[in-house]
Every structure is written in C-alpha cells, then in structure tokens.
Amino acid sequence: MTARRPTLAIFKFASCDGCQLQILNLEDELLALAERVEIANFLEVSSHAIEGPFDVALVEGSITTAHDAERIRRIREQARTLVAIGACATSGGIQALRNLADAAAWKAQVYPHPEWIDALPTSTPIAEHVRVDHEIQGCPVNGGQVLRVLVRALLGTQPDLPTTSVCLECKRRGTACVVVTRGIPCLGPVTRAGCGAICPALGRDCYGCFGPAADPNPAALLRHFEAGGLSRADAVRRLRHINGWRREFRGLADRLEGRDG
C-alpha cells in the first residue's frame, strides 16, 4: 500500500439505527468501500475500534442526554470532517416532539420510576451542540448520498446534494402529481429531494421525512390545503412530525397554533 487509507468513524446517538443500516444496505458497494477506507469505528458491525483523529465522522442520532452532549464534543475534537446523517442528527428527529411537551409527564407515562431515567427534556440536532461540516437529511438517509458526500469529503471538495424539492423527483419519474390530480395534501413541494419521491409513486402523500428543501414556503402550501378542507389540527400535525423541530416547519406550526403570541 502506498498511502495511508483515510479513516472513517460512524457514531450513534438517539436513533433507530436506520441510517447506519442504509450504509450496510449498499450491498453492491460495501466491500469496495471497506477496502478504500479504514473503518475506525462502526460499533454496530465491528468490534474493531481505534482512537482518533478520524478523517471523516458520520454521526447518526440526536442529543437527548447530558452524557451524549459531552460525547459529541469529544467526537468533534477528533474529526477532521463531521457529517450529521439523518433526520435525528439534522433536526432532532421524531423524538424532538418532546421539546414542546411536558417531558417530565412523558417520562411518567412510559416509566413507573421516571426518576431512574436520565434524559434531557429536549432532543436536539448535532448542529445545536457542535460545528457540523455537512448535513445529509432524510429519515432514513439515502445511502447513495452518504457515499457521494464521503467521496467528496475525502477528496476535500464540497458535497453536491440536491436542495430542490421532492416535486422535481416526481417530474423526473413521471409520477402524476397527487395534489393536482387527487387533492391529497402532499408535503412534496416543501420537502427536500433525495428519497426518489417514493410516496407519490405509491399513490400517497409525502410526509416530509427528508426535511425542508432550500427556502421552502410551507405557509403558502398549507394555506392551499386548508382552503381545500384540511383542518388546522391536521395542518399542525403535518408540520410537527419527523422534522418538526426544524426552524422552517416549527415556526409555521407555532404560528398556526398561536404559540408565538
């Protein structure tokens, strides 16, 4: 071997493991990837763990405990490039619904002894704790996008992920628009491309799991849906979902609920 292989570390915080699994689901590329980079830390699949620094760290999950808030700082110090992957890491995830609720009451609903549970009242994205070099949105992330960002990071160039909406992917696939043809309240127009527009292709609404597209206008979209009969409560539920803690969705949901005074 002529040169040191770049090191890749993958870390998990509060999450379902699905984004890490998307890397393992790269069935055709996985073995080649493992030959090109040294996997320094990937506890879901390997007992082999070496000390940093790492060329690239991929971080899945949100910060929900004081211990994890400290752990992400140590990972940041060890990572040349830190990439937050998935809705939990980039928006706090579905578990960020607690941020608006009485977290103590939630603990008591699930556990007979809530005092034994060490959990912060909030679930927050990685970027609220440390500097993040790149974010890959999606619940789960698109494995091909992870691969592209990884290659770019190792080449030292900027990633080229789409910032457009799911609508463009529907057009490319030739999927008839479910809003126009069937009046379904689809979040595709404000949701970031990357999933391949799978929901409209199955004949259903996009529910925003890839998070906001660049400069979305969810207020106009939901006004349109409310005019078509969507209730205010359902409009708020659409926003307070997997990426509900993202500013673009949270601010509007707060306004619709009258939370912003």
């Binding site: 379902c16 763990a49 994890d68 140590r74 060490d118 619940c139 789960p140 799991c209």
Partner: protein, 445 residues
Amino acid sequence: MAERRGGDDSGSVRVIPVGALARVEGEGALHLVVDEGGRVAELRLQIYEPPRFFEAFSRGRRADEIPDLMARICGICPVAYQMSAVHALEAAFGVAIDPAVRALRRLYYAGEWIESHLLHMTFLAAPDFLGLDDALQIARLERAEVERTLRLRKLGNRILILLGGRSVNPVGVRIGGFHRVPRPAELAELGDELRRARGEAEALLRWFGSLPVPSRPQAVELVALRHPSEYPMNEGRVVSSRGLDVAADAFEETFEELQVPHSTALHSRLRRDGGTYMVGPLARVALNADRLAPAAAAAYDALGQRFERPDPAASVFARGIEVLQAIDEAIAAIDGFEPPSTEPAWAPRAGVGRAATEAPRGLLFVAIETDAEGLVQRLRIVPPTSQNQRQIETDLRALAPSALGLAEDRLRRVCEAAIRDYDPCISCATHFLTLTVERRAAPCA
C-alpha cells in the same frame, strides 16, 4: 477517540474495564460483580439507550399516522412495528382484510426476516465463530460467503422496496392494506429471483454448519406465536415450551412488565411464576417445526441435534432455517396471488385493539386505544428485546461461573457472544455494551 468506557479502581472493589461490546443494535453495558469466593454476586445487563418516548408522543396522533411513526422505532425491523400496530388498529376499528392483502403482508414480513436474519448471521454473529472483529475481515478470507449474504439481503430488501418504497422506514403500509398493490409482472420477476435464491440460502446455512458454533444449552421457556396451519408471522395464539397457550389478546394478563434501575428498557416476565422466557427465531422454530415448508424442514432435520435442548447459541441456525422458510413463504404468496377485489376501507371508532406478530427478533405485542375520531389515546409496545432481557441475564448468570477464570478478553468475548445469541435490538427496546467486572478483593486478614 474510540467508543470505550472504562471503569475505575476504588477501595477494596476492583473494577476491570473489559472494553466495548459491539455488533449489537443499541446502547448498553454488562456489569459483573464477583465476590471474594469468586462467585457472581451481581449481574446487570445495563441498557442506557436513551428513551425516545414513542408511547407518549403517539397520544393524540391520528390512527393513519401510526404506521409511519411506528416504523421509526427500529431501522432494522420497521415492518414488525408497523404491522403489529396496524393489526391492533384494525382490531380496534373492526376492519376486514382482503385475502390478497393478507398474502402481501406475509410477503412483506418475509422480506424483513430475510434482511434482518442475514444481517445478524454474517455481520453480527459469524465473526464470533471465526474469532474476527467483523464481516469485513471475513470478506478477506471467505469473500464468497459475504457476497452471498449481501446478494440474499438485497433480495429481502427488494421485497421491502417493492411493497414499501424503501427498506428502512418503508412507506407503503396503511390501515387495511397497502398504498399500492404490485403489478403481476413485478411479482413474477421477484418470484423468479426467490426461486434462484433458495439454493444460495441452503449453501449459506451449510457454511454456518461448518463453523465452530458453540453450544450453550439453557433451561429456558420458549415463547412464540402458533397458528392452526401456518408458520407464525402475523397472527396466532401465544404458546410456550412449558404448556402456555393463550389468545394474543390475553398477552397483558399473561405477561407483565417491570422497570429496573439499570435499564431504560422495561423487563418482562410471566405473571404465572415470575419466570423469564425467550422469544425469537429459536422459539419459533422449536414450537412450529411441524409448520416449516419442505426446504426449511429438511434443514431443520439435518441440524436436528442442535435443537434437542433449548440452546440460545443455536439461534443462528434457526435464523438460517427461517431465511429458507421466508423464501418459500414469499414464493407461495406470489404464486397464488390474485389482486385484491376491494380497496382498503376503514372508519375510526372508540375502541381498544391488541395484536401480536413475530418480528425477526421475536414476539412483538402492541395495544392501542383510540377515541371516536381515531386519535390515539393509549399505546403500549412490548418489543422482543424487552422480553428477552431478563432471560439474557439468567443465561449469563448460568454461564459466568465457568468463564470467570478466563483472561478478561476471553471472558468479554464469551459474554458478548451469549448476549448476541438473542440479537438484541436495543434501539427498539427503548449500542454497544461495555463489560465491567468488579472483583471484590478478599479482606486482608
């Protein structure tokens, strides 16, 4: 910085950090306390995976949002969570299911069993048998077997993609059926691939048969679903190797959950006698061997002596048998497929629905209460790993005395492998385990 947690030395108690336990799904640690006489004084499987409060935030959500929300519990087995919840909602609303939908659901389950079992067999378990760190190291020695695993996993994922749009957090399920029914040509093409895969799955299982898979028999009560005529996936009665036989609706009266200070996942036990029990592929195969399709039944017979006594270490073979079973279930669902004659239809009503299905890791129970508008008022999820936790601790307590004399690294590997037999999916229950051993020093005379 590697993900390792250390211990400390304090007073007369010696804490030996033995390193991280990897290749499990979720975050946890194992804490062993050894007394002056060299006996196990305490043993705790600590799960500190931060809770995400699914049961709390689902309150007030609409019933039709539940399949998408439940998928997020586990990236590896989203189908099982979606489907247990959908079955419970259908019970609450009194929804009749078209036979074609039922067939597609068995196909959907089969896809998840294939991808999840193969992940565990080759990526999580096989390195133990070969003394390696991971499947990437195996690929340097036995590349054909790792490639075979990846091809078979891809086929399982293809089933999920066909019905759900993607394999992680699939989006195709709705109350009463699927958002889109596959076209006959799509199913036929998949059926051809599945028929070709049967031989590959048999070859992979033969390879596992050639590996030095240890034996760790335990006196364990096995619990699984049982159906009058089918291998259990989406319905059946709850039965056990010690004579338990109750309707799935009676789950809550039969089993109880309790919280222990060292785990964010609730523990389960039998109300009958407070006993621990095991759910998962080993329990399913042992209690339903007479329901296996011919290829899986032949594999079961060939491995017969591994199933004579309950042995959690034989779980890897049970997974291989179930991969074969899932391939044949998928083929059967496709070959007899007639498109549904009705569109999924349901109306909300106030009610309670309960359902148990078989996740890759074992029986998964869900109870949902809704109001008249179909808003969720109460959700209870009992995942397989919660149910297995106490049994894992029991197994380790039985195993530890003979292993305490081993060097720390060997001790850690033995304990890890015993935990891994259960394929614990800790992120579901509420990833990695650190083993600490406290050796209480003999008092100075």
